[in-house]
Symmetry: C2
Subunit: 233 residues, 2 copies
DNA sequence: ATTACTACTCACCGAGTAA
DNA sequence: TTTACTCGGTGAGTAGTAA
């Protein structure tokens, strides 16, 4: 059992952990019999017992068995797991924006202009500071095809972005750029950049990344690419 | 499948609902393929499909199937379910106090004084106003036996209570009283009352209720009684 | 590409019961 | 009373596949 990842398998256990928290076990040591717990989780005494055993194995609870029940307290690790769920829900409900939006489109070759802009020191420095990576000199161009994707992309404008300042060099001015951290094909980290005056219409995603994504993800023109855009909280 | 109660059975489905919310389906209609969702929930495409079908049956989501995936939105009912979990977690984490404390003790016969106090109009009126019920003229006395229960009860003092004012009648003064809503033996609604100057030590719970609990719960002296004390938020 | 059916497997739950 | 074992049935997940 992987103690680090909550998935469908451990999720049932997680429910029991949550119910223990409801009984106060996140802040105090509580006495709970397996029979009593079984009523709280809507299962049998045996299931409650097994859940406690497994929760202990995962180090989500600490337990002392007495003849009157188990003195039980959720460990800091267990509390952290619950807090993770709590913060995620807070993000969902307290923020007006969804935590992420996934778009899909088809890879195509741009005019190579992306590389020119990305390597400009004025932008590059900001990418490193604000996104935490040094972009590969080039961009991935994704053409959105369905109505849904285009509509979603246009909604994106209203969501808070990481904004890079424009600057001047000896020859010309460069405008401000908005970007959103993104995950490409569920694997690679990167960012969607959104030039305020783009030469593409609003149906193209331009993506930068610390690596050369075409080789890293084995992508070719015409491939479908999935982009999960993360909205900042 | 009971759409109103989340227990171990529907909890797995609930996990999928939660993941859909993470993808933004609580505020917008999102396009999600069963394959994509399956990655998010850590299960197979078939499982994702079945979960969507069941979520739809429970009216937690509304869905339109297209050849590119499902246009999916969480219904207000589904959002309400998620919010319930969220508020509960907020209570657990944002309040310094546990939502409830469960104590256990043994029923014994008091001196009948409880009845005298409870029926005093000065208290009775406040019980009705602040607790929402007219107390049966009599109290249930529970003697706490284990160290854990006595310790927990003493901690109770620090938690916020419903406070009833003292008053005077023609012959004497009656002191202020603290009380906590409580559930007795997982069934009956009532309240623990906690006279600031009690003639019992701190190892006795005095309980009032709208009904005659001894007959309602078929209790006799010496029976074990479980009292879940609810801490106000 | 999708969704979702039918099998089949297995993990999980609960009954019985020991300690 | 407790906790938690064994064991047997079944509900839930996956593979294969149709539409």
């Amino acid at each position: 059992m992987d103690p680090l990842k909550i998935d469908l398998r451990s999720w049932k256990l997680f429910f029991t952990l949550y119910k223990l928290a409801e009984l106060g076990a996140s802040s105090r040591t509580i006495k709970v019999s397996t029979e009593y717990l079984s009523e709280k989780i809507g299962a049998s005494q045996q299931t409650a017992s097994r859940h406690l055993i497994n929760l202990e194995k995962m180090e989500w609870i600490k337990r002392t068995i007495t003849p009157e029940g188990c003195l039980t307290k959720i460990t800091s690790q267990g509390v952290a797991e619950l807090k993770k769920l709590y913060s995620e829900l807070r993000l969902i409900f307290e923020s007006a924006y969804p935590p992420s939006i996934t778009l899909e489109g088809v890879l195509f070759s741009g005019l190579g202009e992306g590389a020119y802009y990305v390597t400009k020191e004025g932008y590059r420095k900001q990418f490193m500071e604000r996104l935490g990576f040094d972009p590969y000199p080039g961009t991935l161009n994704i053409k959105l095809t369905t109505e849904y994707d285009i509509k979603s992309m246009s909604e994106l404008e209203a969501y808070p972005a990481i904004e890079l300042e424009g600057f001047k060099d000896e020859s010309r001015t460069f405008g401000p750029v908005k970007c959103y951290p993104a995950i490409i094909n569920n694997k690679a980290k990167g960012a969607v950049i959104y030039a305020l005056r783009s030469h593409y219409g609003s149906s193209v995603l331009e993506i930068i990344s610390p690596t050369f994504l075409r080789s890293h993800l084995k992508l070719k023109d015409g491939n479908k690419v999935k982009v999960e855009i993360l909205i900042s909280p």
